[in-house]
Amino acid sequence: MVSPTPNRPVPDAATQLDIYRRMSTIMQNDVASRRIVKTGRLVMPYYSPRGQEVIPSAISVNLNDDDKICTIYRGIHDMIAKGVPLRALWAEIAGRVTGTCKGKGGPMHITHPASGVMVTTGIVGSSMPIANGIAWAAKLEKSERVTIAYFGDGASNIGAFHESLNMASVWKLPVIFVCQNNGFAEHTRYENATSVDFISKRAIGYGMPGFTVDGNDPLEMYAAANEAVARARAGEGPTLLECKTFRFFGHVFGDDDHYMTKEEKAAAMEKDPVPAFRARLIADGHASEEQLVEMETQIAAEIQDAIDFALGSEVAGLEELTLDVYAATGAE
């Protein structure tokens, strides 16, 4: 597909390190999550984002704290990249009252307006219509806030996608539709459900710029995001970014991956973006091995601290069952 302009923006060394820091946090957090789910210490459907670290990391360094995102069940990477505090995140996943949502939302519905995470939805496609509304609010307030709607390749086939992109274009909303195309929707291969070779081509039908980006390449992702964000802030309306990537651990953790060949999977995993970017940072002289190890060690400690915090927290009392149904408490 059409790709971004040739003179595309390049992140400076600090920004590249910032991208890597977010990627490493996501990856390490994923390792910890899988461990803890596997051992049964936490019970939840876990939709691992492993392999998709680059996308929200390279996007988020282009965002301000007051920019917003709407994401999906497979969205913990989007949340971490946007800056949701790990303690509150882990506590939510653990169903504790100290969680972002007092444990009532759970991993599929994490909300944290303070860091810009407005909605996490479990309904395929539904991040997009709501993101439009958030972007509309920014426009009404004449703010330069940008809203990101994250979703998957499978979601590009549902009605909400279509309605949202059309409305965003007609209303020139400051929203970016970020499709994390990992090649599968649950167990369905992209081409068995999707009628077009590049989802970005659908942008044509909405008079909207649309690009297919290598979602494993932080610099390409950065450039595409940077341009889309600039377009949105300048009042030029929405962009569709299709970011090609791969999910390492199937749809939901525990998945047996029968729907792809071992070779195919191995080949995809060989393109693991995290070690690749790490090596590149060193090769490009942006960081030393020691520096990165130090960063990674610090991240590991933060994650451990978050887990300890979460598991040490109280669960919500039963009175919470009917609180927050309405502003004035949820009475029957």
Partner: protein, 332 residues
Amino acid sequence: MTAQTKKINIIQAINEAIAEAMEADPKVLVLGEDVADREGGGVVGVTRGLSTRFGDERVRSTPISEQAIMGAAIGAAISGFKPVAEIMLMNFTTVAMDMIVNHAAKLRFMSGGQTGVPLVVRMMTGAGIASGGQHSDFLEAWFAHTPGLKVVAPSNPEDAKGLMLSCIADPDPCIFVECSRAYGTTAEVPVDLAPIPLGKARIDQEGTDVTIVSYSEIFARAKAAAAELAKEGVSVELIDLRTISPWDRETVLASVAKTGRAVIAHEAVRSFGVGAEISATIHEELFDVLKAPVQRLGGPFTSVPFAKALEDAFVVKSSDIAAAARATLATG
């Protein structure tokens, strides 16, 4: 010291309420198909004049995209605005149920109270205008069964205006049901009408023999039945429910505790309708007081037909209500 009044119909009443709310609070927005003046200010004119007065940014006509309409409303609502969204006809909520039920209704709870969704969804419905099966259904029971939503259905101009004022001010999502047959109903309404609290029924007429509970346009039929019964010497206590969820248990139960007999009438299909909840509750709470079983009236278990005679037969008539009252008086 009588308040100044003005004779208005329900269309004007809702229009005035929205206009007053928009005047008082710049956060109030209007969106929906053809709602702006360029498109005629709504198919029946409920939003006429609003875009001219408050600008095209605050009053937006939309594409035919009910999911996107509700998404935009939800996104704006969690961002601090107060959107009044129109879904032209109640049957069209079926293409936006995910947004209404999985998102508008649940986001406050799932976020642990962080994101309230102060929006109003207006819609018209009702048999009797020769539109057939897909434009006439009363589906309020669905929404009443959905925690997180409030459901309102006025029967007259004063209630329409006062309840709309409350819905817009309410911090939670309100479903506002307008019956097209009732739009033309006029009444003298105080010019500076105060908001009418949600969840409070109105005792239209006190009585001692039997309680008749109704709402929306069927209330007028209940009132006609009460007049008919008065001629026969039957003293009816006539209740306009106004809010269906949360419904005013106290008022209804106090009335039936007094009369010992109750009739409930609505336009929606009788089976599994709102009347079932009210009837069940009355029986459960007033088991020893009730003199006869509660009579429940509603539409037959069928689609709304086109042919005039059949369509008329679909809707509960005042004679049906009077007959039910007589039946309950004849027992026990």
